[in-house]
């Protein structure tokens, strides 16, 4: 390590203003502080600091995302081999490898495009490189269907990072969650690639791996897609890709079609537990999203006409396990930058996300995935919620002063 440190110290002068590589100063400093914790000591104020910094915070979120990501990779392979009828003779590792190879290019594209823009923006502003995109870049591949073309991910990521983040001032200044803006851009710009029966399961091969023909009776519709297209009234029976009925535990464990990282409620909850144990995410938000979702599902169960709105038949637990609801509750709503920042505000913010997610899902069959749109919408309202919470504190202070002059 000493040699590495010495080498960095040796090449450092080239990157400082006036050096021949000074145009890469931010990138150099980014890597330097990535390798070695800066040993600058405090100049003003407190003499000691907590060990936590934004690198650690983002690292914890990425670790929390890993269970859902790894499961998502496996599920991509699993759904593929089910579709070509070769599941039984394929080993666990082959299944995983198929998914890994299908997902990895998406991660690489999201990171290369996003970080490239981040590095450039940091250098233009002469800032340090900020870590926020490390999480966004991981989230983006997890919330898209597996057959999303890479160029679309690149375009959408670039759009989101530039127009939803950098124009506002970078990490910590954005109003909307970057990953969700990417997803929304894809959804509205290329709707045919973002929904329907043919995008959530890769039926073709990946780098020549797993070629085969689709079995008879196969349908690639996600459970929520089935609910949205269910017509003619009557009982809604969700099925897997081969037409077998889906149980609640299938939905919970997540070997069902859907966006890459969103299918397994179990894997998401493991990530949620990591976020809550480390205190990085707010339990207030998470809890109230689930509460809002359950309340709204019950209202739909009781009052909505199931002939017109088939998704209203789904029980609260299936609503939570299906689609992106759990993922949005655990990883999207808890983004501290775009969410409510006051504790009281967090309850309201989370609850309304839960309510809106189910509301969109049930009453607007054009958007079976309501959770992501609900979070984006509430991102816009979070400052308003906080405004009223803080205003209450201000009024309390004014009242106190008034009582005194009486």
């Amino acid at each position: 390590m000493k040699a590495l440190k010495n080498y960095i110290d040796k090449i450092k002068p080239h990157f400082e203003p006036g050096g021949k590589l000074s145009m890469f100063q931010s990138v150099f400093e980014g890597f330097e502080s990535f390798l070695f914790v800066p040993n600058t000591t405090s100049r003003s104020g407190v003499h000691i600091h907590d060990s936590i910094d934004s690198k650690r915070t983002m690292t914890v979120v990425i670790v929390a995302l890993l269970p859902a990501l790894l499961f998502g990779m496996y599920n991509v392979g699993y759904q593929h081999y089910v579709s070509i009828g070769e599941l039984a003779q394929t080993s666990f590792w082959s299944i995983f490898l198929f998914g890994f190879l299908a997902v990895l290019p998406k991660i690489v594209v999201a990171y290369v495009v996003g970080l490239g823009i981040e590095f450039t923006a940091a250098q233009i502003r002469h800032h340090e490189i900020q870590e926020g995109f490390l999480v966004s870049g991981m989230l983006i591949p997890m919330i898209v269907p597996v057959d999303t073309p890479l160029w679309m991910i690149a375009v959408a990521t670039a759009f989101a990072v530039i127009f939803a983040k950098e124009v506002f001032g970078g990490t910590g200044m954005n109003i909307f969650n970057i990953a969700l803006v990417t997803r929304a851009f894809l959804f509205f710009a290329y709707p045919s690639k973002m929904s329907g029966d043919s995008v959530f399961i890769r039926t073709g091969d990946t780098f020549g791996l797993g070629a085969g023909t689709v079995v008879e009776g196969f349908s690639g519709a996600t459970p929520l897609g089935q609910a949205a297209t269910h017509t003619g009234g009557g009982l809604l029976q969700l099925t897997d890709t081969l037409g077998n009925p889906l149980s609640l535990s299938d939905m919970f464990f997540g070997l069902i079609p859907g966006s890459i990282g969103e299918t397994s409620t179990l894997a998401i909850l493991i990530g949620g537990a990591i976020l809550l144990l480390t205190g990085i995410a707010s339990w207030r938000v998470m809890l109230s999203v689930f509460a809002g979702g359950i309340v709204m599902s019950l209202i739909c169960n009781w009052f909505a006409n199931p002939d017109i709105y088939p998704a209203a038949q789904l029980s609260p637990l299936s609503q939570i396990c299906l689609g992106g609801f759990a993922f949005a509750a655990v990883f999207m709503a808890t983004d501290p930058v775009t969410g409510a920042r006051t504790n009281t505000g967090k309850y309201i913010f989370g609850f309304l996300i839960g309510v809106l997610a189910i509301l969109i899902r049930v009453f607007n069959s054009g958007y079976p995935e309501g959770a992501m749109l609900a979070v984006l919408l509430m991102n816009a309202f979070a400052p308003l919620i906080d405004y009223f919470v803080v205003e209450a504190n201000i009024r309390r202070r004014l009242k106190r002063a008034k009582n005194l002059t009486k």
Partner: protein, 449 residues
Amino acid sequence: MDHVVKIKKGLDIQLQGIPSPRISEVPNSQLYAIIPDDFVGLTPKITVKPGDKVLAGTPIMHDKSHVDVTIVSPISGEITAIERGERRKVMKITIKPDSTQQSVEFGKLDLDSMNGDEVKALLLKSGTFAFIKQRPYDIVANPDTTPRDIFVTAFDSAPLAPDYSFVLKEEMQHFETGLKALSKLTPGKVYVGVSAKQPIEVKNGTAVIFDGPHPAGNVGVQINHIAPINKGETVWTMNALDLLFIGRLFDKSAVDFSRIIAVTGSEINTPHYVRSHVGASMLSVTHGLVKPAEYEQRYISGNVLTGTNAGANGYLGAVHSQVTVIPEGNNCNEFLGWASLNPHKYSMSHSYFSWLMGKKRQYAIDARVRGGERAIIMSDEYDRVFPMDIYPEYLIKAILAFDIDKMESLGIYEIAPEDFALCEFVDTSKLELQKIVRNGLDRLMKEMN
């Protein structure tokens, strides 16, 4: 003494080097220094020059805007230098002590028969008034105002802070005299914030017991829970250990600026208390107590949260009763530190594993910032260590934007930089919050007056 205020929010940072209750003698300082910056808000006008002979209690400077607020020499001797920094700002005045040690005589003082104006005049003349602070702005009190109430904090909850019940034990009489003197300065009450863990008996004031982690000992927190400051009101605040100077003045008819100093921190062998004096050199206070080390050490006058980096060759700040020595840490190059699983890396958050080591474990934390400055990202971080009915993050943002209406409505008049010290410690974004607050208060004061 039945009123107990429970403080829930806050954090006791467990550091190595807690002082044990034992007082030792250390050699007298070769040189003493008065640092005008210790008296926040005071613009010094120096009234002595090098070579002048002074007694303990001889004025050496006064405030330009309030000529009667004087700072006096803490000892008798000879002025050796007036050190100036950038733009001729006075950094410190050094005094070489003499062997006779004489004090200015204030004649026979009968506190019971004195009225408020007489007490105030005496405090101003003796230089003890400069130890009284006021809110709003957290500066040396303006003698032209009459405070609504006076708040005395009789404990310090900061890391490794001296135990006031131990330090005050010998001098309870002076403490009570001081409280009695203060009570003549306000038509309101003299509140004394007392710790539930280090109780002291209070006769001449209204005691309010506080139970909870730091910053329960911050007078600002105590005010916020007892009787918050409203716009237009002024209260005065004081530290119980500084109040001793006022008490001794009336009891002895002369100033006595001796102090019991807690010498603390992970770089101190056998941390305990020493008898010293306002303005003494750090070397004399820490004489023979600092662990020999090949790496750099940071000598802090005060505690690790609000103290000043005095340096080994510096001097004890006028308002400090504690010295903390910690490793500087600038020799550490931690490889991939953000990925560390080491349970010895301290963090309030559970993202590092120090929380698994239990709450009793003590840490030796060095002075590294441990991260780069970022925009405010995490929410509810400041709130968890800020036990006041104020939204700290919103107040900080209002100060940064310098929106006076917002600052007022969010409670700027109730706070001091020290109240944000813990926020600064836990901050993921590593912002210099105390500096932001101090600059905001200074600017606001200029705008308002």
